[in-house]
Amino acid sequence: MTSWVLIVDDEEMIRENLKAYLEDEGLGVAAFESATHALGWLRDDSATCRVCIMDMRLPDMDGNTAIRIFHQLYPEMEFLIHTGSSSYSLPEDLRAMGLDNDRIYHKPLGDMAPLAAAVRALAISREIQP
């Protein structure tokens, strides 16, 4: 069973670059341009997804809503936020899920290594926990 990293971002090159970097890090990555597509894949595939890197501005819904839906359906999923907005701040209910400012990554990421490290750390903690 492979643990997947899910990337939701409408900007193709961002999506692809993140996917490439994380794959080079030896992680299984699934990338989608919208939350709807991601949800479809999650329902169809039996594979479990540990970590999700979520963009905030998506074509079908905003990132916060997507996180709430994903969290409801897959309570074990961990989220990292990757946003181009400088003024983004975490809503309270997301904080209640255990998200904090350390989970926020501002675009542009000049170096993806810290993000990759965070993903790895979350994925491992999820594997150990149960």
Partner: protein, 756 residues
């Protein structure tokens, strides 16, 4: 005065009389008379009638000599002769005696006649008359003078008592008459009884009479009546009444005068005082006069001074004007008097006295002082104005300058007065047109933001010309406000606005730019990673394709492709930094403000700066001497720690960079903190090249940089400015001169102020 005139008048007619009497007495007075008569008479008589002893001897010898016979005859003859001689002698003596008596009588008669005539003359000539009363006190005799003097016919008087003639007067003063009557009834002498008779003579109204009298007694001592003299003193009384009235009138006049009028002798006794004077001393005129100044007035110091002035006037016999003196009145109010003191000789007194007129100038003085005070106050007001105020007349001649104007023109009001304002303030010469226009139209005229050259510095001034409103003074006031500071603040505000709009713009486009930037940066990172020969995934793919990764890498290096890729990465990073900086120009409400230990913060920043050694930026922070000048009483400051760290780090880096570029020989940075009443001051002072005015003015402007292209974003200082002024409500200022280093001053609101 009344009595003194009386006595003078009374004594003067007496004096010549007594002198006359004394003169005559020396020739034929009653004491000398008999003695003079006796002596010469006796001597003459003996020489004529008695024989000398020699003759007598001859007679006896002749009788003896002829014969003794003849003796009896002779004896007889002799006897006869002797008898007849003695008879003759006796007869002669009698005759002589008779003659003497006759002479004596004649002489006495003559003397009597003479005396009578003299008495009559005196009586008729004198101003007095003689009167007589009988034992019933009724007039029996009046000398002729009575009619002459009073014009009252004697028959009105004779046979009447005195009180019958003076009904009105006795009604007026019955006591006087009762006493007089008693005197008369007791037969006592009296003197100078004055009364008014109801009888009117030919002169008209009733007369004032003054009488003296003494009782007459006969040889047996029986009272026979009164005899005395009388005189008509009507004119005298009239004169005295007139005098009295005139005095009364004068009295009333001086009492009406509101100024103090007084006369004092050299001992400080009041000889005269008017009501105003008495009022000032809190007493009456009667009480004041003849009392000593010392007794009346309790304020020793004032009395001494006034008496000294009096004496001065009396001694020098010259008037003295005391322009101002203080006087404490009875109520304790201190008044200011202007006093004129004049020496004068009081009639009847040999000593010089002093006449004083004192005018109460308290109110005038107060008014004058008030005017002076008001003038000073107004001057103070216009001097306190920070504006330059120049008052000019319609022709542009200076009438008034306030202190700032004096400073600006380098002239005093006195010297500038009357000069053309354009000559004193050459830069305002052009305003003359406005002055004329303002006066003509009665409307103020404003010239905003006029540029002035103040000692080589460019200043901005708002120049207002106000026409004077008062009717009496036409002219204008030129008001100059140096608005340089305001203009600077405004330009700062414009700056801030500019920053905010940059911030707003950045926030709007950041998202759109950050995504492509992310693609560039992440893409270049992935490219560099995927051509690296050591990554296992790379090698796997290369092997499958039969590609030598090392060869490829050499190729990329040879062709400079790796350097281009690095260039893309750096350019992307810089663009990302610019966007990030621009984004900081936005008001963030949820800044993390906490009390921060300022010394710890500064030390952290110094550590960060020391580790920031950058070959490319060509400076080594470790070579710079750091001086710490911390205020020991200052510890906590309320701020967003990371932002203030960023500001100070930025200042340190700028200083280090500037000193490195210029090659400052012994580079040093002083970090200074100081507690101010409302602010915490943090200063970063370097001894680097400094800045010229032009640079200084633009130093906080966004995108302004003196650094080489590519070295700075041009946003560092404007971000710092924004953080301090906008996020922290503080101030950021800079002072610098070329070659003299630079001083940045950050003022953050004190903990107390920030929390209040």
């Amino acid at each position: 005065m009344l009595t003194s005139t009386f006595s003078r008048r009374r004594s003067s007619p007496n004096r010549p009389l007594s002198r006359q009497a004394a003169g005559r007495g020396s020739l034929s007075g009653p004491r000398w008379g008999p003695f003079l008569l006796a002596l010469p008479t006796g001597a003459n008589a003996d020489a004529g009638w008695l024989p000398t002893p020699a003759e007598f001897h001859d007679i006896v010898a002749s009788l003896v000599n002829p014969a003794w016979m003849l003796i009896p005859i002779t004896l007889l003859a002799v006897a006869t002769l002797l008898w007849s001689w003695s008879q003759r002698r006796q007869a002669a003596r009698r005759t002589r005696q008779l003659q003497r008596e006759l002479n004596e009588r004649r002489r006495v008669e003559m003397a009597l006649r003479e005396s009578e005539a003299r008495l009559r003359d005196v009586t008729e000539a004198a101003s007095d008359w003689i009167w007589e009363m009988d034992e019933n006190l009724r007039f029996t005799y009046l000398s002729e003078r009575f009619f002459a003097l009073t014009g009252i016919a004697p028959h009105y008087v004779l046979g009447r008592a005195r009180w019958e003639l003076a009904a009105t007067d006795s009604d007026a003063d019955p006591q006087k008459w009762r006493r007089h009557r008693e005197t008369l009834e007791k037969h006592l002498p009296f003197r100078d009884f004055v009364y008014q008779t109801r009888l009117s003579g030919s002169h008209g109204e009733g007369r004032y009479l003054k009488v003296s009298g003494k009782p007459i007694h006969d040889s047996q001592g029986r009272f026979m009546g009164y005899r005395g003299t009388g005189t008509d003193i009507t004119e005298q009384i009239k004169a005295e009444v007139a005098l009295y009235q005139s005095e009364l009138r004068l009295r009333r006049i001086i009492d009406l005068v509101p100024h103090m009028i007084f006369a004092k002798d050299r001992h400080g006794h009041f000889l005269l005082a008017n009501r105003a004077t008495a009022d000032a001393y809190g007493t009456t005129v009667e009480e004041l006069v003849n009392r000593s100044h010392h007794i009346i007035h309790g304020v020793d110091e004032e009395v001494e001074r006034m008496l000294a002035d009096d004496l001065d006037v009396i001694e020098s016999r010259t008037s003295k004007l005391i322009a101002e003196e203080t006087f404490t009145d009875h109520a304790g109010h201190v008044r200011t008097l202007q006093t004129m003191k004049i020496p004068f000789v009081e009639p009847g007194l040999n000593e010089t006295a002093v006449l004083g007129v004192a005018i109460d100038i308290t109110e005038q003085k107060r008014a004058k002082e008030e005017v002076a005070r008001m003038r000073l106050y107004l001057k103070n007001i216009i001097d306190s104005m920070p504006s330059v105020l120049i008052g000019v007349d319609p022709w542009g001649y200076i009438t008034v300058l306030n202190q700032p104007a004096e400073q600006a023109g380098g002239v005093s009001w006195e010297t500038a007065q009357g000069r053309f304002f354009g000559d004193v303030f050459p830069q305002l010469k052009g305003q003359f047109k406005q002055v004329r226009q303002a006066i003509r139209h009665g409307q103020p005229i404003k010239t905003p933001r006029m540029t002035l050259d103040v000692q080589g510095e460019l200043h901005y001034a708002d120049v207002m010309v106000y026409p004077l409103r008062a009717d009496s003074a036409s002219g204008a006031v030129i008001r100059i406000d140096d608005v340089t500071a305001r203009v600077r603040i405004e330009s700062m505000m414009v700056q801030t606005e500019k920053m905010l709009s940059v911030g707003g713009l950045a926030a709007g486009m950041a998202h759109e730019i950050n995504n492509p930037l992310g693609a560039i940066l992440q893409g270049s990172q992935n490219i560099l990673r995927r051509i690296a020969p050591d990554l296992s995934q790379n090698r796997a793919v290369a092997d499958a394709l039969g590609l030598d990764l090392n060869q490829l890498n050499r190729y990329l290096q040879e062709r400079g492709i790796l350097r281009f890729l690095e260039g893309i990465r750096e350019a992307g990073a810089r663009a990302a930094k610019i966007v990030a900086d621009m984004l900081s120009f936005s008001r963030r409400s949820e800044a993390r403000f906490v009390p921060v230990d300022l010394q710890d913060l500064l030390e952290t920043v110094l550590r960060l700066a020391a580790s920031d050694y950058d070959l490319k930026k060509k400076y080594d922070f470790k070579r710079i001497a750091i001086r710490r000048d911390y205020d020991p009483t200052l510890r906590l400051v309320y701020c967003d720690k990371t932002e203030i760290e960023q500001v100070i780090l930025n200042l340190l880096k700028n200083a280090a960079q500037a000193m490195a570029e210029e090659g400052t020989p012994a580079p040093a940075i002083t970090l200074r903190t100081l507690r101010e009443p409302d602010y915490v001051l943090i200063e970063v002072i370097d001894n680097g090249p400094g800045m010229d005015d032009k640079t200084l003015k633009r130093v906080f402007e966004p995108f302004f940089t003196t650094k080489e292209v590519g070295v700075g974003t041009g946003l560092g200082l404007s971000v710092s400015y924004f953080i301090v002024t906008e996020q922290h409500n503080g101030r950021l200022s800079v002072t610098s001169r070329p070659g003299q280093g630079t001083r940045f001053s950050i003022r953050l609101p004190s903990l107390r102020k920030a929390l209040s």
